[in-house]
């Protein structure tokens, strides 16, 4: 065991962290909903293919969506019941996705994955693939793909930074399920054949740091409270002093970064033979009556979640899936929880910013704060003028969309929106 301070990284911002709304509340179990809507694309890559038909009886833990390619993930039924629909539904993000709708029959029947044959590396990875585990930090990249790098890695870094304001689910899990996380970490380290394990935790979570002290083989790195400390590249830099070169991936510097929740999912899949059917989510914001940390079945409609938390206050004007810095706004409550949703925020006026953008005054705060050292104001002006070659030159493709630039912009410009638009155009035009 060793505890050390992380390396300083001078760029980035300090955000009001607002975690006090529910950081002391233990995770509660949301009662199984009447109906679940399981999206077939809860991950990056090809959508899963439904393998059930309308009218079929399914048990909890039964495969309903088959991974349809190397980069894809299985989807399992999260409640027992009857399939009542396989339809294209528009979710709260405005995306049209194929959903399998299951109606609960309250039978409580559950099936598990077959007992794992051995605990060797390839078997473990195969199990993680089978269980439909994806990066639960928000990216949703299939974990099994991440665990099969082209070359031998040196470090496994566990991301316990949780730098997004409001969100507490990783923190609560670190306190309540410390041992399960540790077991998950050990399995993943074994699958990767990696000896050095680093756990990065932000300094504002002393209890979590305390909880992990007992494990001899974890190298705990205390990170400064700074946004975006949980970004993969910055976490790697602050814990191992390695810089991921522009356009390269973490495995190019011998590192694999995994999320806390993913570790628990891996543990459950390997030791308890449970596929990924549940998720942990922070419901917070000043617009919700009772902020809570919840454990719920995948595909639960947000209306059920909101009802359990006492409902939405009249003053609420914005719903966000995920954290306030990188999460996506929701049009309404017609959204169904997915593997990657780590939060539901209900924000009121004054809490979320509604100011209209005004002219850029060139204050250069965006460039000063950008953790990727880009020039957001130039990328934006290029993007708005349609000069995508220029936007690329100023580094648009390196943007994390972390929102550090727009957070501090005095003119309240939608920098992330413009840069994200430029990125899409550059990809489309193959510049």
């Amino acid at each position: 065991m060793s505890i050390r301070k992380g390396k300083n990284y001078p760029y980035g911002i300090h955000v009001r962290d607002m975690k006090e709304l529910c950081c002391d509340l233990p995770i509660e179990n949301l009662p199984a909903p009447k109906k679940v809507y399981l999206s077939m694309s809860q991950h990056i890559g090809a959508p899963a293919t439904p393998i059930v038909n309308v009218g079929d009886k399914v048990k909890k833990g039964q495969l309903v969506g088959q991974a349809s390619g190397p980069v894809s993930a299985n989807v399992y039924a999260s409640i027992p019941g009857t399939v009542v629909g396989i339809e294209e539904l528009v979710n709260g993000l405005g995306q049209k996705q194929l959903h399998v709708v299951i109606e609960n029959d309250d039978s409580g029947e559950e099936i598990l994955l077959p007992e794992i044959e051995n605990r060797l590396g390839p078997t473990l990875i195969e199990r993680i693939r089978l269980a439909g585990i994806v990066g639960l930090g928000g990216a949703g990249f299939p974990t099994a793909v991440k665990l099969t790098p082209k070359s031998q890695l040196e470090y496994l870094i566990i991301n316990g930074a949780e730098c997004e304001p409001y969100l507490n689910c990783d923190y609560r899990l670190m306190l309540e399920r410390t041992d399960d996380i540790y077991k998950g970490i050990k399995y993943v380290a074994k699958a990767l054949n990696v000896k050095k394990i680093i756990l990065g935790i932000e300094e504002n979570k002393p209890l979590a740091i305390e909880a992990f002290k007992i494990y001899e083989d974890l190298d705990i790195v205390i990170l400064k409270k700074q946004y975006p400390m949980g970004s993969e590249k910055h976490l790697i830099y602050c814990t191992t002093n390695r810089k991921v070169p522009v356009g390269k991936m973490p495995f190019d510097v011998g590192v694999c970064v995994q999320n806390i929740k993913t570790m628990i999912a891996c543990y459950e899949a390997i030791d308890l033979n449970k596929p990924l059917t549940e998720m942990v989510m922070t419901v917070s914001g000043k617009g919700i009556e009772n902020p809570k940390n919840l454990k719920l079945a995948l595909g639960t409609p947000l209306t059920d979640v909101v009802e359990y938390c006492g409902g939405i206050k009249e003053r609420a004007i914005k719903l966000v899936a995920g954290g306030p810095m990188m999460g996506k706004a929701l049009i309404g409550l017609n959204h169904y929880t997915r593997k990657t949703d780590s939060g539901l925020l209900v924000l009121i006026d004054g809490e979320t910013n509604t100011a209209e953008p005004s002219n850029c005054i060139n204050c250069a705060k965006c460039a000063k704060n950008c953790p990727m050292r880009l020039m957001p104001m130039f990328i934006e002006s290029c993007a708005l003028a349609g000069d995508f070659v220029g936007a690329k030159k100023y580094g648009a493709m390196n943007c994390l969309e972390c929102g550090s630039c727009a957070y501090n912009c005095p003119a309240k410009r939608s920098l992330v929106q413009s840069i994200s638009m430029a990125k899409n155009k550059i990809r489309e035009m193959k510049l």
Binding site: C363, A367, C370, R373
Partner: protein, 336 residues
Amino acid sequence: MENKLYKYSSSPHVKAPRTTRQIMVRVCIALAPAVIMGTVLFGLMALLLIALSVLSAIASEFIYLLIAKKSFKSILRQFDFTSFVTGLLIGLSVGVQTPLYVPVFASAFAIIVVKMLFGGTGKNLVNPAVTGRIFAFISFTAVMTSEWVAPNIASLVGASSVSTGATVLTGMLNKEASVMPMVSNLDLLLGTGVAGCIGETCKVALLVGAIYLAIDKVINILYPLIYVAVAGLFSVMLGGFDFSLFLPSILSGGLILGAFFMATDYTTTPNTSLGNVIYFILLGLVTAGLRKATGIEVVSFAILLMNLFVPLIDKFVTHKPFGFIKTKKTKEKKNG
């Protein structure tokens, strides 16, 4: 409840509270000590000049936008106090003997020609206040530079007040023996017994405002300090390493006002730390050099000149993305 629609926008959904308007209001507050000291030193006439200048600046912006068919309500909602700052700076940088129409014309020129015609706040190429001042200086040379009025408070150190006809700096630059020995650095700092522009004479008031801005993180105090130090040292060098010139060259003329309030304007400074250092060093060199060459006060001309180099600096001095160094090394290896 299910059918209620919520606001939809791109991330981030929370933002820091500071707005452009708040920044500009802070600059106005920072200039308040200078306005007060100007009034104390030069009387109510000075306050009237500043007030007219501010009114003219704001009125110009409103009239321009009304002609551009913006509704009065939307103008009021988007009013960001930048023209208030411009008006204040122009009012502070004329002498109290100036006729009332001069700051009015200068502010109107600064707002309409320099700012609004280029697209409003943040789109101007050069600093409106500086350009307005130069406009007044060139258009009304005779009334702007004749008959400097001595302030109400006499010198703390010297026996007699400064003779009219030349500000300290002009006298010093032209090596007029009658001016040089009579002015102490303390007088220059406090503005007592020194003739000059309304806001530029009392340096303490300006420095108090600058420190407020620095503490409130509106400006980075390092850059204007670089400017002032470089300008002072270069003056010393040009004066044949006469170090007694260092403080007078900093404390006389419009250098302090220009350095802390005009040169630090966001719009007309580079966007990177390195670019800013380059910009302010060059600014110091140009100021000291031009002062020596022309024998008149040139801070505003130096700022105007260097403003034009800002896009050039921004083109060549940009950040290298995080993780750039390694790719550079591999490139070098390939070339080698």
